[in-house]
Every structure is written in structure tokens, then in C-alpha cells.
């Protein structure tokens, strides 16, 4: 590129960047997106036909109420893709994968009613681009599988917590200690789901540092501190232990009840997988989760397994859509598991404080290597 054209390019980019601040639709012309302008009573779609494959809509709300935009199947009922919560003056993208066929577009100002609809035609895909016929079915399959997994884990968590609580309350410390980490794994595998219950998470899984004056300290880490008592700590009385144990079982049963009817969306699975790795990155690989027992690697393993399940459930949505990402995730899940396997001892793992600084750094970099591609999963599976 010669100097003149560089200068021109810089100027153009500069102008676009400036314009982009208030009006994202500037990008529409550069990335092939279809522009949609939604007002209080109109829905202006820049074209009513496009080629099959990945289709991007830039939806701008020029109305005064919150709007939504839908791409509906030929029957006018099945949602192929949707983007919600577009505030006045705001532009949002909708990216969908759609094969050849007849569809409807719909803006829904005020988020009520059937919306302002128009027919939309998707023609044959460009060469070499294969579009899965029914991504909605694949998505449903993925979320159903994951819901079943969550049910199974909470069921096992209840059974395990009962055994742990009994040992803890009766003062059988040896047994309680041996049950602590393996039982918590059921919680850690589905941590983002468990954490989504804002009332249950703090009473079951809060660490002491998470509390402020006046908060009561209950749940797993309360028991942990009592079992692996730090210097200068006065152990709980039998009565206090019984109280903590009973409450743990009750709260876990409540969690079980609430998870039985949960339904998920593909982005929740993908984001959940990413969050599980975030948990590893900010809590487990730093040894902050299990301050007293140092069983952080059990939690690490469970978070990793939970993330892998979500990925595997979603995998059919990746195949053929983003094979490179699929491959990278497969490889990096296996690589991180192999790293972690090196610290297995008997049925469990090494304690966190027995790891060297360089081992911790290696694990952290393995977590980052997997987390980065994993953060790209959502955008692919929601198409």
C-alpha cells in the first residue's frame, strides 16, 4: 500500500469509528448486514430476500418504546432467531443461520402483540456453505440433555450432603473430611445454575470473606472451617454443628426442588461453561475457594467436567458451523484434563498448598488457553 492510500484508509476508518459511536448501522454496509429500523409503528427491513447461511440483521430502534426483532419460520410461529431489549436509540445485532425457505421478519415495539410482520425469503446458500436444516431441534436437544444432567447432579448432591451432614453433626470428623470434597463436586459441576439462586448460594457456598458484619456464616465453608480448624479457632459445639448440618440438608433439598423444572437456552449453556472456567481462574487456581481444606483441585476438576458437559451437549451446533472452534475446544479440554490428571492421588488430588508456584502458573495458563476459545462458544450456538 502506498502512502496516499494509507492516509485515505486511515481517514475512512476514522470517520467510521466516529460515526459508529452513535450509529452502529454504519457497519451495515461494510459487513453485509441487513439493516432494520424499528419505530413505534413501522418495521423497515432493508431487503426482503437474502442468500442462505449466516444472516446478520442490524436492528435500530428509532421508536420511543423498547422493541424486539424476530425472524420467524414459514408457519409464523417457530422462532428462528430473536433479539430482545432494544432500548430507544439503541442498535442490536441478530445473527442467525437460516437455510433456503420462506420466513417472516417482525418488529415488536413495546414488546407486545404479534409484531409488525413482513414476508422474508432466503434463497439458495452460496457455494460451499452448508446450513444445518433444523438448528432449533439441535438446540432443544442440547438444552434437554443439559437439564437432565443438572437434575442428576442435584439429586446426587442431596444424597451426598445428607451423608456428609450426618458425619459432621455426629462428630465423625474423619468421615466428614473424606466426604467433603467429593460431595462438593456435585455442586461445583453445576455452579452457575446453583449460583443463579441468589438466596441459596450465599447460605450454602459463601466464603468467610464474602460476608459483612451481621451476616451469618453457614453452609459448606462453615463446616470446612470447623473440620480444618485454623490456629486459634474455637470449634463449634455439638448443637451448633447439628444446626449447620440440618440447614445444609434443607437448603440443598430446596435447590433440588427448584432445579427439577428448570429449562435452559443454548446461550445459558455456553455462558455457563465459560463461567465455570472463570470460577477456576479466579477462585480455584488461586487457592482461595478452599481456604482451610485446600481441596481446590477437586473443585477445579468438577468445574472442568461441568463445562465439558455443556460443551458436549452443544457440540452438534458447532459441527459444520465452526469446525475450527470445535476442534480447538476438544483439544484444549483434553489438554487441561491431562494437566490436572498429573496431580491425581488415590481417589482425589494433591492439596493446593502442596503445588509449587510454577505448577500453579502452568495450570493457570492451561485454564486461560481453554477459556479464551470457550468464550466464543455463545456467539456460535445462538445462531
Amino acid at each position: 500500500m502506498n502512502k496516499t492510500s494509507t492516509a485515505v484508509a486511515v481517514l475512512v476508518v476514522g470517520t467510521l469509528a466516529l460515526a459508529g459511536c452513535t450509529d452502529n448501522t454504519t457497519e451495515a454496509s461494510t459487513d453485509g448486514a441487513i439493516s432494520v429500523v424499528s419505530t413505534n409503528d413501522t418495521c423497515n427491513v432493508s431487503t426482503d430476500t437474502t442468500a442462505g447461511g449466516t444472516i446478520k440483521f442490524d436492528v435500530k430502534n428509532e421508536g420511543s418504546a423498547v422493541t424486539e426483532f424476530y425472524l420467524l419460520a414459514e408457519d409464523g410461529l417457530r422462532i428462528v432467531g430473536e433479539v430482545e431489549n432494544i432500548g430507544p436509540g439503541v442498535t442490536r445485532d441478530l445473527v442467525v443461520m437460516a437455510p433456503q425457505g420462506k420466513y417472516f421478519t417482525a418488529c415488536k415495539p413495546g414488546m407486545v402483540g404479534d409484531g409488525i410482520r413482513a414476508a422474508f425469503t432466503v434463497s439458495e446458500s452460496a457455494d460451499g456453505q452448508e446450513v444445518s436444516a433444523d438448528r432449533a431441534a439441535l438446540q432443544k436437544n442440547a438444552t434437554d440433555q443439559y437439564a437432565a444432567y443438572v437434575k442428576d447432579q442435584t439429586e446426587q448432591l442431596v444424597r451426598g450432603t445428607e451423608k456428609f451432614a450426618e458425619a459432621f453433626a455426629s462428630g465423625d470428623e474423619e468421615l466428614a473430611k473424606s466426604l467433603y470434597a467429593p460431595t462438593r463436586m456435585h455442586w461445583e459441576r453445576i455452579e452457575p445454575v446453583a449460583e443463579s439462586f441468589g438466596d441459596l448460594d450465599p447460605i450454602l457456598d459463601a466464603r468467610e470473606a464474602d460476608l459483612e458484619a451481621g451476616d451469618s456464616f453457614t453452609g459448606w465453608h462453615r463446616a470446612e472451617k470447623d473440620l480444618w480448624a485454623p490456629e486459634g479457632y474455637t470449634k463449634m459445639s455439638q448443637g451448633d454443628r447439628e444446626e449447620i448440618a440440618t440447614k445444609m440438608v434443607e437448603d440443598t433439598k430446596e435447590l433440588y426442588t427448584r432445579t427439577q423444572s428448570l429449562e435452559f437456552t443454548p446461550d445459558q449453556l455456553a455462558n455457563g461453561a465459560k463461567e465455570l472456567l472463570d470460577e477456576v481462574a479466579t477462585g480455584k487456581v488461586t487457592g482461595e475457594e478452599e481456604t482451610f481444606s485446600h481441596t481446590d483441585l477437586w473443585d477445579f476438576q468438577a468445574n472442568l467436567e461441568g463445562a465439558k458437559i455443556a460443551y458436549e451437549d452443544l457440540q452438534p451446533l458447532l459441527a459444520g458451523t465452526d469446525d475450527a472452534l470445535d476442534e480447538e475446544l476438544k483439544t484444549n479440554f483434553a489438554a487441561l484434563q491431562k494437566q490436572l490428571d498429573a496431580y491425581r492421588e488415590g481417589d482425589g488430588f494433591k492439596y493446593y498448598q502442596d503445588l509449587s508456584d510454577s505448577q500453579i502458573k502452568e495450570l493457570a495458563s492451561g485454564v486461560d488457553a481453554l477459556s479464551e476459545p470457550l468464550s466464543k462458544l455463545t456467539a456460535v450456538v445462538v445462531k
Partner: protein
């Protein structure tokens, strides 16, 4: 972002030019010749160029609070070892003199960096020689521990501890490191040139040896709020505009209401015209934040990343509509940062935020040790900080990406007239 692009920070531009000029001189061999001229000639030559770069030192209030926020900061907390009240006062007198000189762009002492005895170390350390004042401000405040320690009053200050100078409570998820928290005296140096700010702290530390030593210090770059209508809203390390709703210097009523200590609202008359400074070092989990989807980031903040407009629409300064319905509750999520900390949720309480981005390199795991060095000036932390921080640590979903590692509260003394020293109101009240 329009405003940001056009707000080209004129003062930085000026400083840059002067520094360029200076290095050009050095490169041409003129640097040596200049050195031989001695600092007086040099300083007078500079002062002609730099009047616009100076913030006045004397006044009813200290500078560095409503002063248009500079781009760089070096803040240090000191523990006092002075054996007597007189020694402490002497330190404050020496500091006051030095601060007045440095804010004018002059070296400290009577002989400065190069005019003293050949057989003595120079009075000024010299690294700011030839640099303009760079809008340096130095602001001083006292921590609770200056007044009493281990239940005992210090320096004859019994009865002088303001009720409002509380010990900040432990907030949920705090991971406070004591070694970088609190301290007897706080010294905040802000400037448009980092070297000028560092020079100030370095020379004040040197003057303090034997009477006070540095407990912790922090360097910040990049202001994280606007404190003047003339300034554009900067971005924090999460990439979002920060301080959109901040108090600005021109809004005198708000400043009087929320920043300065008023006569009728303090138990300590010596604090009138002063303020309280809250400091929190808030480390950000940068790496995990960067993996969050744009949608999640915007929902956590409650604003658009590009324009800074609230999710309820409009532009950056459009008032957020917390009642506007989205498909799943309010369109601005109730646990978003702006919903939790907005003055509407706190009886209209505001803070004058004057924080800085910071980076202290990387930690042992190769992750950025970076975040927001939060600074706020308030009339009373009990009403203007604690409830908001409690709400934030309990309800703000963004805290998942934050870790508070240091904490401090300081009584910022009022400003002084020529001939007075900083803190005089306390010692003579």
C-alpha cells in the same frame, strides 16, 4: 465518544510539546549547556512558558479536589514516627513550603537541585528540573490513626478526632491487604506528567525521613472521571465510560452539598472547608471480563459500551429510566452497576469521584494486576460512601469481576493562606 475524540486534552499536548522540546535540546547537545546555566536561569525561562500549567496552592480549600482532574497520580500514605507534636508540625511546615514551590514548577529548598554546595547532596532530587508545573496538585489528609492508636491519643489530639472519621467496615467480598491500606497521613499528588507527580512524592518522602515513612504508595494513570464540564468522560479498564454522572466543579451547590465539610454539619470546627477522602484499590479481573460477551458487559454496567448511553436509550447524558420494562424485568437490570449505585437509589447522594486507572504489572499467574484506584471526596463517608458501597458489594453483579484490595478514609484538611501550614487549623484549634 464524539466528545472524547474531540476532547484532545490540550494540557497534555502542551506538556508533550515541552518535553519534546527538552529532549530535542538534549539531543542537540544543548542539554549540557543548559545544565551549566544553573536552575535559576532555567526556572525563570520555564516559568514564562508555564503559568497556565500552575494550579494555585493557597485558598479556602486544598487543590486536587475540584481541580480539573489531571491524567496522572502518585498517592502515598505515611505512618508518623515523629516523637512530639512539635516535630509533626515541623514536618507539615516543611511539606507546605515544598508543595507551594513544586506546584509553581520550582525545585524544593533554597538551593534546589543544582545550586547548592558541591559537597552536599542537592536539596531537590532534580528529575523534574526543566519540566513545567504540569498542573501539579498535592492534597493532604489525616487518617484516624494520627489521632489515636491502640486506644491512646497521639500528638495531643484528644478530642479532635472527627466523628465522621470512622474506621471503614469490612464490606462483602473485601480482600483488604492491611499493608496497602490506611495510614496516618495521606498525600495525593496529581499532575499531567507522571514524572512530576512522582517527583513530588519522592521529595516529600525525603523531607519526612525520621518523622514519617511511607506505608504504601500507588501510581495511577488515566483519570477515570470528569470533574469539569469542559472534560470528556474517560474510560476505565473495563472499556466503559466512567464518571458520566460525576459531580463537576462548576456545580457549586452540589459541591457544597456533597463535598465540603460545612460548619453546621461537623463536630470539629477545624474541618470546615475540608472534605473526606475515600480510597479503595479495586483490582479488576481483566482476563475474565474480556471473555464476557458484549451483552453481559453492558448488562453488568447498565450502559452501552460505545456511547455510554443507559440501556434505556438516548445518549451518554440521558437520565437512565430504571422503570422501563424489558423482556425480563427492567431493561436496565436491577443488579447492574448503575441501578445499584445511582443517586436515585441513595436519596440523591453523590460523591466527587476522582480515581485513576492503575496497573502494577502482572501477578505470578501472568495476569494483569490492574484496575481502578477509586478516590472519592465526600462531606461524610457515613452517609456518602458506606451505604453505597454496602449496596454495591451486596447487589451489584459487576462485583464478580472486582476485588477490593485496599481501603482507607482520611480527613482532608482545609486550604491555607500564605504563611500558614497545612493542618494548622487542627493544631491551633
Amino acid at each position: 465518544m464524539h466528545a472524547e475524540s474531540s476532547g484532545s486534552q490540550p494540557s497534555t499536548g502542551v506538556t508533550m510539546n515541552r518535553r519534546l522540546l527538552l529532549s530535542a535540546m538534549g539531543a542537540g547537545g544543548a542539554g549540557l549547556a543548559l545544565g551549566a546555566l544553573g536552575h535559576r536561569a532555567y526556572a525563570s525561562q520555564e516559568s514564562q512558558q508555564t503559568v497556565d500549567d500552575q494550579v494555585p496552592f493557597y485558598g479556602e480549600h486544598q487543590s486536587g479536589i475540584i481541580t480539573e482532574a489531571q491524567d496522572r497520580m502518585h498517592t502515598a500514605a505515611f505512618d508518623v514516627q515523629a516523637r512530639s507534636r512539635e516535630e509533626l508540625i515541623e514536618l507539615l511546615q516543611n511539606w507546605t513550603r515544598a508543595i507551594a514551590q513544586m506546584m509553581k514548577g520550582q525545585p524544593v529548598g533554597t538551593s534546589g537541585a543544582v545550586d547548592g554546595s558541591y559537597d552536599a547532596p542537592p536539596e531537590d532530587t532534580g528529575e523534574a528540573l526543566g519540566l513545567p508545573a504540569s498542573r501539579l496538585t498535592v492534597t493532604i489528609g489525616f487518617g484516624r490513626t494520627l489521632f489515636e492508636k491502640d486506644g491512646k491519643a497521639r500528638f495531643g489530639l484528644d478530642g479532635k478526632l472527627p466523628e465522621a472519621l470512622i474506621e471503614l467496615p469490612h464490606f462483602r467480598s473485601d480482600m483488604i491487604e492491611e499493608a496497602r491500606s490506611n495510614g496516618d497521613i495521606i498525600v495525593q499528588a496529581c499532575a499531567d506528567d507522571p514524572q512530576v507527580a512522582v517527583h513530588a512524592i519522592r521529595n516529600l518522602s525525603r523531607l519526612a525521613f525520621g518523622k514519617a515513612n511511607v506505608r504504601w504508595s500507588q501510581i495511577g494513570f488515566g483519570r477515570t472521571s470528569k470533574t469539569s464540564t469542559a472534560q470528556s468522560t474517560p474510560r476505565n479498564l473495563f472499556g466503559f465510560k466512567d464518571g458520566t454522572n460525576n459531580i463537576v466543579a462548576e456545580h457549586t451547590d452540589e459541591i457544597n452539598e456533597h463535598v465540603w465539610v460545612q460548619k453546621q454539619r461537623t463536630d470539629q470546627p477545624w474541618m470546615v472547608g475540608g472534605s473526606y477522602m475515600v480510597i479503595r484499590r479495586i483490582r479488576m479481573h481483566i482476563e475474565t471480563w474480556d471473555r464476557a460477551t458484549l451483552g453481559e458487559q453492558e448488562n453488568l454496567v447498565g450502559r452501552l459500551k460505545g456511547s455510554g448511553a443507559p440501556l434505556s436509550g438516548g445518549e451518554e447524558f440521558t437520565a437512565p429510566d430504571f422503570t422501563m420494562a424489558g423482556s425480563n424485568g427492567p431493561i436496565i437490570p436491577v443488579d447492574s452497576h448503575i441501578a445499584v449505585v445511582h443517586p436515585d437509589a441513595h436519596q440523591g447522594i453523590k460523591m466527587l469521584r476522582r480515581g485513576f486507572n492503575y496497573t502494577d504489572g502482572s501477578d505470578g499467574l501472568g495476569r494483569l494486576d490492574a484496575g481502578l484506584f477509586f478516590i472519592a471526596f465526600v462531606t461524610d463517608a457515613r452517609t456518602h460512601f458506606v451505604p453505597i458501597q454496602q449496596a454495591m458489594s451486596a447487589n451489584d453483579a459487576m462485583t464478580e469481576y472486582l476485588r477490593n484490595t485496599s481501603s482507607g478514609l482520611y480527613a482532608i484538611v482545609p486550604g491555607v493562606r500564605e504563611g500558614q501550614y497545612l493542618g494548622q487549623q487542627l493544631f491551633e484549634s
